[in-house]
Amino acid sequence: MFKDFFSALMEGKLIGVKCKDCEEITCPPKSTCNNCGSRNLERIELSGKGKVVSYTATYVAPLGYDGEVPYVVAIVELDEGAWIVGRLDVDAEKADKEDLIGKRVEVYGKEFPTEQFYPDKQRRVVPMFRIVE
């Protein structure tokens, strides 16, 4: 399931599931509704648009990510209500100098080399957030 999400993301589509019982949109998809736990779900494509709710410029990385520092990890609240984690494509210095919370962003996928503990042994896809305002 998680592989489908990242394959779609690399094709420019952000997918999730919509609950037929409570209307909640869960993204990335989960086996049950993130709000009510229902299994009565349908797969949908989201707008891929949202706003930054929090972020952090990361200077000390785990093994397997060391070559990528500094990078900016962010949480984005999608227009459909779900929160997702990815990276802001701004440099760390800008992220630390300015307040980027509330900035409108668009999501796209970017491929990185996988690492020994990552569940996808072929590749590691990261949701990237491009600031659009």
Binding site: P28, T58, Y59, V60, P62, Y71, V85, R87, D120
Partner: protein, 395 residues
């Protein structure tokens, strides 16, 4: 039939660096201290509840229950390994407590061991990140300091505190916990950083903005052990049993799935309320708290979710001295994770070690007039939460 449960002996290794010992060897050291102060026979111990988070990664070691039992001379009895990230030995403790309370066993050993310092920072950071969502959080390179950095910004926005102001306020957690850690002979930072200043915290190396090195707990090797039994068994053997009055536990998924709940640490609120309810107590009945200060901001939100302060007031509370040893509710007078160290799988029962010693008046470096204590251990980004209430009073 439910029975009252009490703690007998407790043990803790020096926290810091132990590259010369295996996990079972390290645990044995903590166990011997606990056993030698319990006035029991080895054969009294009916089961082992052992907490460890990432033995596979740091030491290539799993299936640790059996190896622990064998190391300490208890080969043959049931021995379980519990994993709940940083709350591993607290989960073990709660299950052990329930087993004794409900008549499965009369006397059991609980504890934990971890060797993250010896693993080195890159492997240690990756190992800790296994407690995050492996597919949807770690892929971006999110780390544990990163999680609490995200939460710090959410906290600042939620309560409309300028980020720089919040950084200053939460820096007091580091100053406080390093002060007590420097006094604690078993702490990783014994005799170090006792005079840390707010500016030192603000100006130290940025790890994940806005959190600096001194906002973070260290990587630590260490072990802890606790022997618990029915209250009747305990009072026949030792002078000062410390009674387990209540224990709560709760769960949650990934950080991003919890949305704004993370600022209020709702899984912790649920867990603490479960413990208070069982104990028939409220936060006002607690004299001292040992909470999960993996990062400065983490202690602040813990003190709010556990009911000591209103939401949004925890950062002011530490700045005003309310959580210092002479304050309204002393928090982490043993140094906490920041000053004492954080050997993940051993942290929960190390909090119980400090709580029991303090309640008995046996913590030589600090005296607080306290009859009731609470511990609070957090695994992952609120994935596993455990709270335990301990008291000198049986009821």
């Amino acid at each position: 039939m439910e029975r009252d449960v009490a703690v007998l002996g407790v043990g803790q290794t020096k926290f810091g660096s132990h590259p010369d010992k295996t996990l079972p060897e390290l645990f044995a050291e903590a166990f011997f201290e606990a056993f030698d102060s319990s006035n029991i026979e080895l054969r009294d111990i009916e089961a082992i509840y052992f907490g460890n988070f990432v033995g596979e990664i740091t030491d290539g070691a799993a299936n640790l229950g059996g190896f622990i039992a064998d190391e300490i001379g208890l080969r043959g009895i049931p021995a379980y390994r519990f994993e709940g990230a940083c709350a591993s030995s607290s989960v073990a403790f709660r299950d052990a407590y329930l087993a004794v309370k409900h008549g499965i066993y009369d006397c059991v050993l609980v504890g934990g061991a971890e060797k993250l310092y010896s693993a080195g920072t890159p492997i240690g950071t990756r190992a800790l990140a296994t407690a995050l969502d492996s597919a949807y959080e770690v892929n971006s390179g999110l780390t544990f300091p990163g999680v609490f950095a995200l939460i710090a910004r959410l906290y600042a926005k939620t309560y409309d505190i300028p980020l720089e102001k919040l950084r200053e306020k939460i820096a007091h957690v580091s100053v406080k916990n390093h002060k007590y850690g420097a006094m604690n002979p078993k702490a990783q930072f014994y005799n170090k950083f006792g005079d840390l200043k707010v500016e030192d915290v603000l100006n130290s190396r940025m790890i994940c903005s806005p959190l600096t090195l001194f906002d973070c707990c260290p990587m630590t090797d260490g072990a802890s052990a606790v022997i618990i039994a029915t209250a009747d068994f305990a009072k026949d053997r030792i002078d000062e049993p410390i009674y387990v009055r209540g224990a709560g536990q709760s769960s949650a998924g990934s950080l991003f799935r919890q949305k704004w709940d993370v600022v209020k640490a709702l899984p912790r609120k649920r867990s603490a309320e479960m413990a208070y309810r069982e104990a028939g107590m409220t936060p006002k009945d607690i004299d001292v708290a040992f909470v999960h200060d993996c990062f400065t901001i983490a202690e602040v939100i813990a003190t709010e979710a556990m009911g000591f302060f209103e939401y949004g007031k925890g950062a002011d509370a530490v700045e005003e001295g309310l959580t210092w040893a002479d304050g309204e509710i002393p928090v982490n007078p043993d140094g906490g994770l920041i000053g004492k160290g954080h050997p993940v799988g051993a942290t929960g029962t190390a909090q119980i070690y400090s709580a029991v010693k303090l309640l008995r008046g046996e913590l030589d470096f600090i005296k607080i007039d306290a009859e009731t204590a609470i511990t609070d251990t957090l695994g992952g980004d609120f994935g596993t939460l455990v709270n335990v209430i301990l008291s000198v009073h049986r009821r």
